[in-house]
Structure formats: C-alpha cells, structure tokens
Symmetry: D3
Subunit: 116 residues, 6 copies
C-alpha cells in the first residue's frame, strides 16, 4: 500500500511537471469534486468508489477505498457500496470486487497496527 | 414522466411474465440493493445515479433521479452528484448531464404542482 | 421493423458508396464472422446478441434478434441468452433487456401472420 | 441540425445557470482542450471525433463533425477518421458510423446552399 | 493456472465470508446462468467468453476458457468465438485476444499431460 | 520496452499461426488503418492513441506511443493528445495517463542513447 502511494505520488509529480495547464486544472477539479459541500466528503468518496467499480479500474478503487477508510467509513458500509456496484455492473465487476476486498483487508489491518 | 413510468411498468411485467427464474431473481436483487441497510436508501440511490451517469444510461439516470427526488434529496445535492459523475466520466457524460438536468426540472415542477 | 430494415439498408448503401476500402472490408469481415464454420451460425448469432447486450447497443440487439428468429432459435433459448447478458452486464443492461423483449415480441408476431 | 444546436444551447445555459463551480470549470476545460496549441484545432477536433465514436455517443459525434466541417476538414479526411474508429471500436460502432455519415451529409448539404 | 484457481478460491471465500446477502445471491445467480437449460452449458459458457472478451476482462476470459475446455469445446470452436469477439469489439480487444490464446495453450498442454 | 515488443511479437505469431482467416484479415485491416492516406500516419496514430486512452487499454497506449515517437511526434504534441483523452474520458483515465507518461519517458530516453 505504501509503494502504491509512493508510485502514485512520483507519477503525479511527473504529470504536473509537464506544465500542461489543462491537465493541471483537471487534477484540481478532481480534488475539489470530493470535498465537503452540499454533500459531505464521505458520501462523495463512496460515489467515486462505486463509479470506479462499475468502470472497473483497480487503481481508482484502491484510491477511493483508502480515502473512505481514512474518513471512518466502516467495513459494513463499504460492503454495501460494493454490492450496489456489483448489481449495477454485473459479474464482470467480480474480479474488481475481489481486488476491493483485498485492498479493504490491507487497509483495515494497517489501522489495527499500533502506532499507525 | 408518466408515460416513462407506464412504459417501464408494461415492459417489466412482460419480462417477469417470461417466468425466467434467473431474471426474476436478478430484479429482486436489484430492488434490494437500494433499501436501507448499513447505508441508507438516500446514499445508495445517489450511488446508483452516479453509476448510471458514468455508464451513460439515460433510462437508468431517470429512474434514479425520480427515486432521489421522492426521497427528498435536494437539487443542490443532486447537482453535486452530477459533478462527481462528470469528473469521473469526462465530457462524454455531458449529453447525459443535459438529460439529467431536464429530468430533474420535470421532477421539481411536478412537485410544485398543487395536489401532487 | 420494416422501417428499421429499410433505413439500415439505405445507410449501409451510403457507407459502402463512400468507397473506403477499409470500411468495405470491415463490413465483409463482419458478415463472414457469423457464417457456419467450426461453430454454426445459430451459436454465433447468439454470441453476437449477448455481446450486443452487454455493450448496450439497441440497434445491434435488434439485428441479432432478427437473425436469431430467422434461424429458428426459440423464445426460451433467446431468453436464456438474455439472462447471460443480464448477469454479466448487470442492471445497466435492463433498459436493453426491455428493448430486446419488445423486439422479440414484434418478430414473433410477424412470424405468426399468415403469408409471412 | 439547427434544432440540435438550439436544444444544446438551451440545455448548456440551464447547466451553467446551476452555478456549480466544478461543472462551470469543466465546461471551460472542455472548450480549451480543442483550441490551437502544440497541435492545431483540426487535429484535436478529429481526435475528439474518433474518441466519441469509439465511446459511442451520437451527440458528441454530431458536435465534433460540425466543428470539423466548419474547420474545413474534407469528407475524405473524415471518412478516414471514421475508419480508424471502426477498426479500434469494432462492429458495435457501426450504428454510430451510420449516424455519422447522415450527419456529415446534412452538414455538407448545408454548406452547398447559397447564402449559408 | 493452479495459482489462478487457488487465488480465486481464496478471494471468493473471503467475499462470501462477508455474509452480505445480496453478494451471496448474486454469486448464486452467476453460477446458475451457465447451467444446462433451454441452451446447454457449452453454448452459455462460450457466450460468457465472448461477453468477457468484448468487455475486456482477462480474469473473466480465463475463467470461461477453463470452463469451455473442461466441457470439451475444441480449439477450432474457441478460435471462432475469439473471432466473433474481435469483430464486435475491435482492435482494442487484441491484447485480450493475445491473453486468450496464451491461456488456451496452457489449458491444452495441461490436458495433454499424463495423469491430468 | 524490448520485452514488450518481443512478447507482442511472439503472441501475434501464435495468433496468426492459428490460420483463422477472419483474424488474419482483421490484423491486416488494423495495420492498413494507420497508413498515410487522406490523413497522414502521424494524425492517425495520434487518433489511435486518444482512442486507446479513452477506452483505457495500456497495451494499446504503449503501442501507439511507440509509433508516434518513431514518427517524430514531439512530447508537447503527445501531451496535448493526452489532455484531449483526459477531458473526454474523465478521471478514470488518470491511471492510464500515468502509464502513458512513463512509457513516453522510456521512449524519449531510448532515443537519447547513442547508437539507438
């Protein structure tokens, strides 16, 4: 999970170093979309998670699960979000459901470690 | 909007009349996915809406907007959900964003009518 | 259904009149893919139908249902194919499942007419 | 075609009237992406067209064909772009290829009219 | 291939251990969709394979190829199914076609081993 | 990058050795689509790149970036193509944007090596 975050960070820095104004602004829009507003960040991160699952993108699923766990969303809540994605997106989502459970387990075990 | 609901009803009856057990069970699973549980129906209907927008299905968008408005979700909240879908799914979502605003306006004007 | 076929014919003629060799060859490949071979045409048309349903294209669904009914595939067989598509593709397929049943009913009623 | 443009205009005005900052900024980013830069507008509009065809969005296809014809891109060039989209996206693109040719023909006939 | 099956088994057990009724029922529906019925299991597994290829999911492709080979579907039949998927889904399917041939070769060589 | 090319080559040879006429012809059509014609190869390779990004296929992205760099398309031009794909396809494209920048950097550093 740490390597995922470091690699992601290295690549984002590379992208923003390209100094393309459109890409930079897109990244800002993307960050802003999940901040508290008329809906709270929790709800919007879970929406981002469901959208990532039905569009079947493991990297995006990991990112939103990390955010969700950090915002205190429980396993039971996340599993309900997984189920919405499964029903909407069908069995083609199942490999990503497996991935999502694995990531969730890593995040939950990180939380249980003393000092984390 | 009434015609949408009647046509949808006629077609669902036709499908369930086919007596295919798998299809019947799928429809039950689909209904169950949006009921109050670890997450409330409001949150799950909005997840279904965002999933429908990024997967670009107008009929599904209409269905979830109707449910959301009936559950008392405000225009400001729905527009935030639209924005998450737009950022995740990109400009290819824009024609469906237009459709979503039109449906929202019809639903809101229905609500304002006396006796509705 | 007749208008669907005529409109489709008019448009295909227009496309092939553009004299683009790549497009012309693609259309030939497309026709050839569904002819009897190691698998029979029936099986391949049903594969094309399931692929069209999970990719959610009503025009393609109509085309393959027409072919399937003309090849003598029964309603029960088609409904099983619909179910595979529904499970693989999820509830986002449901509007196309409704469309598929409507097209199937039109095709079946055409078959029942004397002289058809 | 005029109705398409008016309807599109009405809906965009409605969306921007919602005063959602994220949506407003997304629309600006979308406009900016197709302006002359390291690549010229012609090339970028054709990229937008091919992307719209493989993602199978008729409204987006219409928008980009209008832009392309106004930028002086020829029928032969557009048909080559259509072919790239057909090969990348497969036969599921064919209904959108039909639509694209119809829109192209409307645009070309508009251009031929005196006073247009 | 063995590791694929073990990993898949471990993850499915984890998912079903989450005791989410909707997910459990979805898994049952998914299993049931490919059993002999109005269409035989062979035909339905090949439909699942084609659907997995056009939706571009390697894990799902592997699963259905394993099932197909175990049901006695020949290489020639599978290659015809691959071709339908390629024509419907276009060149974007080619990386998954490469993957499918690799999986098929592993499955066929497993079958040739004495004692397997 | 060399391993990518060798593996790709090995797999394509395997596929063409299957002697399936439809697949062989599809591969020919695919090659032909990017050759100079009414549009030049540069423009068409960039279209293929944008299509691969919005359809989110890393292998296809790598292939088209290699072709683009060999045709002399500059980093600034490629980043503009990336931006079109990002705006059309949304934040779900971002993991593939990261991948595209990594591949671009490998290609550019290969070019800078003496004797390459």
């Amino acid at each position: 999970m740490d390597r995922f975050r470091q690699e992601r960070q290295r690549q984002n820095t590379r992208i923003l170093d390209s100094e393309h104004l459109g890409i930079k602004r897109f990244f800002n829009l993307d960050d802003a979309a999940y901040r508290d507003g008329a809906l709270d960040a929790r709800t919007k991160e879970m929406m981002g998670l469901v959208a990532s699952m039905v569009l079947r993108c493991n990297d995006c699923i990991d990112y939103h699960i990390i955010q969700c766990v950090q915002l205190g969303i429980s396993e039971a809540e996340l599993v309900e979000a997984f189920n919405v994605a499964l029903v909407v997106g069908g069995s083609i989502v199942i490999p990503h459901l497996r991935h999502a459970f694995d990531t969730l387990d890593v995040m939950l075990s990180e939380q249980d470690e003393p000092g984390s």
